[in-house]
């Protein structure tokens, strides 16, 4: 079993869609929410995905397809300039 720590960011038009619920039903992936915040303009959820590594990648690709931004949970952009 593999795990992946991700941050999902939702724009306002996606906030009402139960993306994490859908992801857990469409894929053999266990979702564990660790931190989250939602306000009028944006919402984000930090979660751990657990399952077969290919299945995790498929689930992340699906989340991106439905318009969710997916990033590493902690790091933000790794590439730095100044």
């Amino acid at each position: 079993m593999a795990t992946k720590r991700v941050r999902f960011t939702f724009e306002p038009n996606q906030i009402k869609r139960p993306v994490i619920y859908e992801l857990g039903h469409k894929f053999e992936v266990v979702t564990s929410i660790r931190m989250a915040d939602v306000d009028d303009s944006i919402g984000w959820v930090v979660l751990e995905l657990e399952g077969d590594s290919d299945e995790i990648e498929r689930s992340v690709a699906w989340a991106r397809e439905v318009g969710v931004r997916v990033d590493d949970a902690t790091l933000g952009d790794v590439v730095e300039g100044s």
């Binding site: 960011t9 660790r34 931190m35 303009s41 990033d71 902690t74 590439v79 300039g81 100044s82």
Partner: protein, 420 residues
Amino acid sequence: MSFESALRCRECGREYPLDPIFSCEFCFGPLEVDYDYDGIRAAMSRESISAGPATLWRYAELLPCDPQYRVDLGTGFTPLIRADRLAERLGLERLWLKNDTVNPTWSFKDRVVSVAIARAREFGFDAMACASTGNLANSVAAHASSAGMEAYVFIPDDLEQGKVVNSNVYDPTLVMVEGSYDDVNRLCTELSADRNWAFVNINVRPYYAEGSRTLAFEVAEQLGWRAPDHVVAPLASGSLYTKIWKGFKEFERVGLIDEPQTRMSGAQATGCSPIAKAYKEGTLNFLPQKPDTIARSLAIGNPADGYYALKTMEETGGGAEMTSDAEIIEGVKLLAETEGIFAETAGGVTIACLKKMVESGHIRPQEETVAFITGAGLKTVEAVQGQLTEPLRVPANAEAFDEALGARHPVLAGAPAGGA
């Protein structure tokens, strides 16, 4: 002697040992170094600092590494310059510039890399790594070279030649990654998980980030042991900005200055402004953005410390501003023309945003303000090429010179009175 005591989660406060780790196992929040401040207070004084070296190592007690592992290229204790000509142009009474263009690889990144490499050597790593669009790559390559360590430096494959050369000259393993900015991010995150490297802004990030606090320590010392009224600093990941504030508060905590009342303001390019946009919308939750700006050293679309930068603005009564690419060039030129400092585009962002904040009344004329100039202009020459006054081109005789000068500046033409 060093006084770091533990790593602590910035979200839930859980404590961790001082290992090469960067995130909390429970909430995945970022880890930050905690210190034995009572011990530091007993070991450090204004006098002991003043007697120290003219580098960032004069604050060794406040750095999370054993100084015996330091790789000292002479970083830090850079000039704090009273900028009266620029202040007059902007309408400020007291303006200072922290000129970090004069560090060994010409940017403030030498501060964070100094600490990261010392800690990496203490951990026993023999290889350093980073992913960068320029300044960090230059600094990691130089410090690793000086320490005799391997360096793996990842850069996007479309970087300007000057930035490539400025890293390559130190002979690291320089990797130009094909694909988008996000592809570089993804590759480096993946490699950091299974290579025994000190990836400066990943597994040693908690230590690395602490190096930026030395900017605050120096400013407070150079102002005569006090914090300024207002700070304007560039925002990329948000780390530099938040660590400056942390530095002022720590100087108070160890008894070196009075309580800082500094208002902390940040500067971004409009083409990459997730933090400034969130500030203006009144939210602590920023929306990641695809960068599109000439200020590539600030082009962090998903800033790791963006939330904490916004919290700092809220806590200090500061704010954020953003500026167009054309205004960035004007900022670079204004700084050069008034104060003789040639900054990279990030400096143009800082000056252009400072100007806007004064014009809008966000910064009041009587507030003593410090602006942070974090990198040298020779790194981004392309940005100002074609934007400057053309040089006079003349044959080698005085008449031709006077004619050309007269055409441009009629009142200056002709030999000076009393000349030979």
